[in-house]
């Protein structure tokens, strides 16, 4: 865990969960796995608070626990999982595009609560949706359940590991920490629930008093005491599946940029067909025959089989090498080369950073060294057609920023500099790591700036909140227009302007965080895929 990562984790934990959880979390990330007492002692917080903080972290899958020998339970924080919290908006947005508002709210609830039972999710989402709908309409539980089942079928949500029910009762004392198991088959199995009901609108106390007779009220409270049918079956969001989806999106858009829309649709179809069959970190998808692809094309596309074959051949021959042909049975078997695709995307990211930071001539030199693998100073000048002095300057600048490295090849055993070849080369993996580290620090900077901006204008924000509260209460009591007007004028025009600027800045910083997170995703996927292959 680098300093930058730890800093970022601490900022995220503080923003989402507060000071105490942040302290415990950062301590665990720094020191690795530790038992409960040691944590309490080292951080100087009371045992009670440590327990509560750990509960929160475990609920959100940020900390795992393990029973070691002699019954000691150790807790370990997962830094990478904490960094995923940056990506929550992207997950929610994906769910929205795929399953519309219902899906969006389901995923949001799951992410915000860590783990939930299905019935609890359905109820909460129905209530929220009902509030946004027009008066008189309510959201049916069945609809929400349907969406939930669809999410489970496409593996976007999965069951959490649970305590296995032991048939024979344990003779001795129960173990200090339960071991959780989950069967692969059961992970996406939705329990047979019949959730009948409608979303309830949260009403203000006045309407309640006028609307319902008092007799019905005890019944409401009694409802909450009924046993929940699926107690013990908790669900969580399956982040790996979302990552797979993002990766597919990246590949499809790359194909669309390089070739045309139809080719990208074909690639999207192929990826969709191999969603379930291919594990997420495989270098190639399963081979798909051209006949299968033809059958699975979306209904809107009526291109003939011949044209499809031509497109597939073009895709397979393209220098990008995203699609490869692995055989001729069934009209041609095609695979998507996932590892190569991730590599190309990561390389394109590197090139884009070099271009924006140093200029397009430097980018030319960078791509040249990438393609030719190892080059001497003189050869770089010749191939890139850049005057010698400028080329030298650019190469040294990139060298100092660690995008390019030198490889020494001595001619004599004594490594004399005058008799050694110095070759420039690009090591993509190490450059990707370097850039990733920079991304983490950038996001930490952006978050800090956002907090600073908010703190600067704290007074103003509090004032505007107070005014809004007063207006709302006055509206409820039925005040006149003139009084409302008077109170609104408590906020002067320049203050209003300031508030506007603040809102705009905070939004911009937020959006920028998400954009940098996209870069992080590409680089992390590439690094992971490369490490798995080694």
């Amino acid at each position: 865990m680098t300093q930058a990562e730890i800093k970022l984790c601490s900022l995220l934990l503080q923003e989402h969960f507060g000071e105490i959880v942040e302290k415990i979390g950062v301590h665990l990330i720094r020191t690795g796995s530790q038992p409960l007492r040691v944590i309490a002692h080292d951080t100087g917080t009371s045992l009670d608070q440590v327990k509560k903080a750990l509960c929160v972290l475990i609920q959100h899958n940020l900390v795992i626990y393990q029973v070691h020998k002699r019954g000691v339970v150790e807790y370990e924080a997962q830094c990478s999982r904490v960094l995923r919290m940056l990506r929550y908006p992207r997950y929610i947005y994906t769910a929205k595009t795929l399953y519309s508002d219902t899906g969006e709210l389901i995923v949001e609830e799951l992410l915000l609560n860590g783990k939930m039972t299905m019935s609890a999710v359905v109820k909460k989402v129905a209530d929220r949706l009902t509030e946004t709908m027009e008066d008189g309409k309510t959201m049916d539980y069945a609809e929400v359940s349907n969406t939930f089942v669809r999410l489970a079928d496409t593996h976007f949500v999965q069951r959490c590991p649970f305590v296995p029910a032991t048939e024979n009762s344990d003779p001795g004392p129960p173990p200090p920490a339960p071991t959780l198991v989950i069967n692969e088959k059961d992970m996406y199995l939705v329990p047979k629930l019949s959730l009948i009901g409608k979303g309830k609108r949260r009403r203000s106390s006045d309407e309640d008093a006028t609307g319902e007779p008092k007799a019905k009220r005890p019944k409401h409270t009694a409802d909450n005491k009924e046993p929940i049918p699926d107690d013990g079956i908790y669900w969580q969001a399956n982040l790996d599946r979302f990552h797979q989806h993002f990766r597919d999106q990246g590949i499809v858009s790359a194909v669309a940029n390089r070739m045309d829309q139809t080719s990208s649709e074909i690639v999207r179809t192929m990826l969709r067909m191999s969603e379930i069959t291919t594990p997420s970190n495989a270098p190639f998808t399963q081979p798909l025959s051209s006949n299968e692809i033809f059958r699975s094309l979306p209904v809107g596309y009526n291109i003939s089989k011949q044209v499809l074959d031509q497109y597939l051949t073009l895709l397979a021959d393209d220098p990008l090498e995203f699609v490869g042909k692995s055989g001729d049975s069934g009209g041609g078997m095609y695979v998507i080369n996932l590892h190569k695709a991730l590599g190309s995307l990561a390389t394109a990211t590197l090139e884009s950073v070099v271009q924006e930071r140093f200029g397009s001539r430097c980018a030319r030199i960078f791509r040249l060294v990438l393609q030719k693998k190892h080059l001497e100073q003189k050869q770089v000048e010749d191939f890139a057609m850049i005057p010698a002095k400028e080329a030298k300057d650019m190469l040294y600048k990139m060298l100092s920023e660690n995008f390019i490295s030198l490889q020494e090849i001595p001619k004599t055993p004594d490594h004399a500099p005058s008799r050694t070849f110095y070759l420039y080369t690009v090591n993509i993996l190490s450059a990707a790591r370097m850039l990733l580290h920079r991304c983490y620090k950038s996001i930490a900077n952006l978050i800090e700036r956002r907090q600073f901006e908010t703190k600067e204008n704290k007074r103003l924000l509090e004032k505007s909140q107070r005014v809004e509260a007063i207006i709302a209460s006055m509206q409820a009591t039925g005040a006149e227009e003139a009084q409302l007007q008077e109170i609104e004028e408590m906020i002067t025009a320049p203050e209003r302007q300031q508030l506007e600027t603040l809102k705009r800045n905070v939004n911009k910083l937020d959006a920028s965080e998400i954009q940098v997170d996209e870069t992080i995703f590409l680089l992390e996927s590439y690094i992971e895929s490369t490490m798995k292959r080694q």
Binding site: S253, N257, Q310, K378, R438, A444, E448, N505, V516
Partner: protein, 357 residues
């Protein structure tokens, strides 16, 4: 160093030998000789066929790769070593023989007729010069059109630096050699014969004019080629035919691009297809163009060794990445930035400017 002198001893044995090998002429020989021998000068008498020098020349013609001293000795065993040496030295100084060293010893080779020309020219010019100059001239001539550096001349000739400089000045004033500035190291001067065209590696070819790299010229060519390829890709995309034809028509071979650039007439210098290919390669390194090589029949226009290079304008596969949209991605003082320091996210001026957009 003057031409080596070969020592020899016995004169006159040749005549007897010649008489012995040609019986028919024996009878007429002495008579002819007695009647017809005019009072010729020494050189003419030495040029008759029974002369050791002519024999040696004949032998050299027989063995164009060179003969050793041993071979000459075998052919004319009656000639003393002294005479042999004189003959060989004469031939060397006249410039009709070349002296070479091989791992077996010394070789004598006939100078071919091509070099006989400049040699006579050289002889006429350098009558007055001494052997040192001749040697330096020889070395420069051997360097061909790549030229040779003054230090290398010194190594090859073992003459001191002052001598070399004097000789070089002399030769230059006589317009026999010229100095060409090398494009690789601008202080270095290479010498070559006056009438030779310097090689491309020295002057840099079409991209250098007077030792200056013409960046603007290269840039203009770059843009023109890219525009041509881009327009070709556009027309192909709009034709909306089936994808194979669309893709194939968006390709342009290097020959087509060359023709287009020649017709544009923006270049004062004649550009070859290789030059255009180097320009197109820079476009590939800019990420704007991609290349494929296809096998082409020998005879189709523009094909080299049975294959053709095709180029196509392409778009980048990802838009500018997220990191560079934030000010931190491009910040020059990124490493110095930390909370609580002089440079921190809270007071970052780049961020302030960026937020005001």
């Amino acid at each position: 160093m003057s031409a080596p002198r070969v020592r020899t001893s016995e004169p006159r044995a040749a005549e007897k030998r010649n008489v012995g090998t040609e019986p028919l002429r024996r009878q007429a020989g002495p008579l002819l000789h007695s009647f017809k021998r005019p009072q010729l000068s020494q050189t003419v008498r030495n040029n008759t066929y029974d002369d050791p020098m002519t024999r040696i020349i004949e032998l050299c013609h027989q063995f164009p790769h060179g003969i050793t001293d041993q071979v000459i000795q075998n052919e004319m065993p009656h000639i003393e070593a002294q005479q042999r040496a004189v003959a060989i030295n004469r031939l060397l100084s006249m410039g009709q023989l070349d002296l070479l060293r091989s791992n077996t010893g010394l070789l004598y080779r006939i100078k071919d007729s091509q070099n006989a020309g400049p040699v006579s020219f050289f002889l006429s010019k350098m009558k007055g010069s001494d052997n040192q100059e001749k040697l330096v001239y020889q070395i420069i001539e051997d360097a061909g059109n790549k030229g040779i550096w003054s230090r290398d001349i010194r190594y090859k000739s073992n003459l001191p630096l002052t001598e070399i400089n004097k000789i070089l000045k002399n030769l230059e004033s006589k317009k026999l050699i010229k100095a060409v500035k090398s494009v690789a190291a601008s202080k270095k001067k290479v010498y070559m014969l006056y009438n030779l065209q310097p090689d491309r590696s020295v002057t840099g070819g079409a991209w250098y004019s007077d030792q200056d790299f013409e960046s603007e010229f290269v840039e203009v060519l770059n843009q023109q080629c890219f525009k041509f390829l881009q327009s070709k890709a556009e027309t192909a995309r709009e034709s909306k035919q089936n994808p194979m034809i669309q893709r194939n028509s968006s390709f342009a071979s290097s020959h087509e691009v060359w023709k287009y650039i020649c017709e544009l007439g923006i270049s004062k210098v004649e550009l070859s297809m290789e030059d255009i290919e180097t320009i197109l390669n820079t476009l590939i390194y800019d990420g704007k163009v991609e290349m494929t090589i296809i096998a082409a029949k020998e005879g189709t226009v523009g094909s080299v060794d049975g294959h053709m290079k095709l180029y196509r304008a392409v778009n980048p596969i990802i838009p500018p990445t997220g990191l560079v949209r934030a000010p931190c991605g491009l910040c020059p003082v990124f490493d110095d930035c930390h909370e609580g320091g002089e440079i921190s996210p809270s007071n970052c001026i780049y961020m302030t400017e960026w937020l005001e957009f």
